[in-house]
């Protein structure tokens, strides 16, 4: 058996494990594997959205509106660029923190705390969607439309509403998803599992959060 052992080192052993029978990823529940694959596919959707946005921004002939002026908020007489976006980003990052706590308490089988932190995550998500609605309202009242705006290239509004809208839909779906799963956890549907479902929900939530970081960087900071 010495030969077999010598064969299975380094890369070869990894390949052997992955291609072994029954499961490729040992101990990974079906739902978790499926969520990871779905997120890979969804990454391509957002990647293509952002690439398209960069392409039209580069090809359009007119000047692009200055994001730090467009997205500024005037409070008590001082204009702060990107203030609302900073708060929204902070809110979403916080929700990732509470989600991580929920996953941890889930694996400790502390159902009560897991549910509380999942609901807290859903709450922060709902707050995010609310702030986004306010941002849309503000921009629409200033005259930004999908087909044009007062400051420059029409594609600014098109990309803004399309990409933040698509992301907002993901967040809203996440809030619904979190609420359903926390209800089911509370009712004891997953009592004879390890509460992987909390982690699976968390994967989706962290993904939505991560996508926001990219939208923030490419749309608001550029």
């Amino acid at each position: 058996m010495a030969e077999a052992a010598a064969e299975s080192t380094g890369l070869a052993s990894i390949a052997k494990d992955w291609s072994s029978d029954v499961t490729t990823f040992k101990g990974v529940p079906w739902g978790k594997a499926m969520m990871w694959i779905f997120l890979l596919s969804d990454t391509f959707i957002f990647g293509i959205f952002l690439t398209s946005y960069m392409t039209v921004r580069a090809t359009t002939a007119e000047a692009w509106p200055n994001p730090s002026e467009v997205f500024s908020l005037t409070l008590f007489g001082t204009t702060v660029p990107l203030l609302l976006i900073a708060i929204m980003t902070f809110d979403l990052i916080t929700s990732s923190g509470t989600m991580a706590l929920a996953v941890n308490y889930g694996y400790r089988r502390d159902k009560k705390k897991a549910v509380i932190f999942m609901l807290a995550t859903a709450f922060f998500g709902a707050v995010f969607v609310g702030m986004q609605a306010f941002e849309w309202y503000k921009l629409i009242s200033e005259g930004v439309r999908p087909w044009g705006n007062p400051w420059g290239a029409a594609q600014f509004g098109s990309c803004f509403f399309m990409i933040t809208g698509f992301h907002g839909l993901h967040v809203s779906a996440g809030v619904v998803y979190l609420s359903i799963i926390s209800y089911r956890v509370w009712r004891g549907k997953y009592d004879n599992t390890n509460f992987e479902i909390v982690e699976i929900t968390g994967l989706y939530w962290h993904f939505v959060d991560l996508v926001w970081v990219f939208i923030f960087a490419f749309f608001y900071l550029w």
Partner: protein
Amino acid sequence: MAQAEIPYQEAIPLHDPHSWITKYWFSQDHKVIAVQYGITAVAVGLVALVLSWIMRTQIGFPGMFEWITPDIYYQSVTMHGMIMVIYLLTAFLLGSFGNYLVPLMLGARDMVFPFVNMISYHVYFASVIILMLGYWPGMEGPTGAGWTLYPPQAILSGTPGADWGILTMLASLAVFIVAFTMGGLNYITTILQARTRGMTMMRMPLSIWGIGMATVLGLLAFPALFVSAIMMTLDNVLGTSFFMPAISTAGADHEYEGGSPLLFQHLFWFFGHPEVYIVALPAFGVVSDLISVHARKNIFGYRLMVWAIVAIGGLSFIVWAHHMYVAGMHPYFGFFFATTTLIIAVPTAIKVYNWTLTLWRANIRFTVPMLFAIAFVLTFVVGGLTGLFLGNVIVDVPLSDTYFVVAHFHMVMGVAPILVIFGGIYHWYPKITGRMLNDTIGRIHFWITFIGTYAIYFPMHFLAIPRRYYEYNVGESAILTQSMDILNQSITITAYIVGIAQFLFIYNLIVSYRRGREAGDNPWEANSLEWRTPQTPPVHGNWGEQLPTVHRWAYDYSVPGEETDFIPQDVPRKAQA
């Protein structure tokens, strides 16, 4: 060693159907879903077949039927292309073969999430209905923009269906992608996480490798089509300018400004080229199994076949712009994409050599599935060789938008995968229904289809006239000679005959369901697990009390020194002497 319980597979009870509706309509059984996918895809494929007749009638006999207006012609061309590529080929190869074969060949009880799988079919069905809404009476009809749907023309007046037709098309595509994603996630997760004992990756039949890799391509390529469908819908409905440059028709300016039509082409072909392999890879896989079973010989170079599938899948993502040589790209781009395109011929050629070497000195049984499999290899070589011409920038430029291209892609990704679908149906029908298809009708169907498709597409290579023309000979500007007209007419008449032969096939499917010869469990004496179910047709749950255990690969045919010329995968190895 005691066999450990496979996690999840054996712990979770299946949802047994209790009524007719949950058994045949809202079924969670992967086998029923596969048949549902198959019937829907064939039905919509027949629509596309009739549309091709309309189109060929106009080309062969222009002016013979008044009702074939330019609008009808372009709508038929567009719908024929889109239905065949997406709603027939993709849906059949992945939805039907994928659903039927993945759990059975891997020794699983069902897909990992049967409920999601059920929803997948019904969403696909909805996408077909939405597509057909394009023909809603009183509306202007479906889009006639060509299956590539290039803006700006696709959404400007002048193109048929620029308001209603394009919207139903884009909505239908988006819904189809949702359906495919649900199905595709299931196939991949099942392949990765739900194989039976002993079914290592390198013991999987090549059908599974092909279907699995094609699904990966689908999950990564369809997002590009999804996003471009959303953007084009916004361009059309809200008046955004993602794909629309400043443009004026008949002296009047449109509202659009500053968009990039080239962006759509990039997005479309970033989906569109992998799509070719989404169709081809399952066909590669299935045909490898058909050839090996009916040649009574193990597949030549199994490992290389697997790596060729993986390599083709990877390369298919970096060749898309070879569809855009005449679109005005930077020449260096053309150079890059020509290089990658020609590199893809290497793994593909490896596969063709391996099929040929599998046939070499084999004990070939010329059954109907085998005839279709051999026909596939021949057709694929013919279609693939013209691809080498089209992959080179300098040769492609004069050939662009001619019937040479039409001949190429029909041979390589139209006829070839369809031949595999036929072969696969003849091969697995006995497992699905428990009865054999009629052999004589099958042979008639094969020869008409095989010779007929050559009679249709082979002359098109020489008939190098521009494609997508409604009429070639208009008064003084007639561009076709009489011999070309005769060629066009003969192609059209052959297309009628080949089309009618397909109804023979459907007749065979229906009649053999009741009257076919009893098949038994393993009529082809094949090795892979789907032929080892306790019942034929397999019942819900597939395997009875215990899942099978796999001891060998799927290709132990004609092993020297053995009593039978086939050793199924679940037969234990003899103890080493």
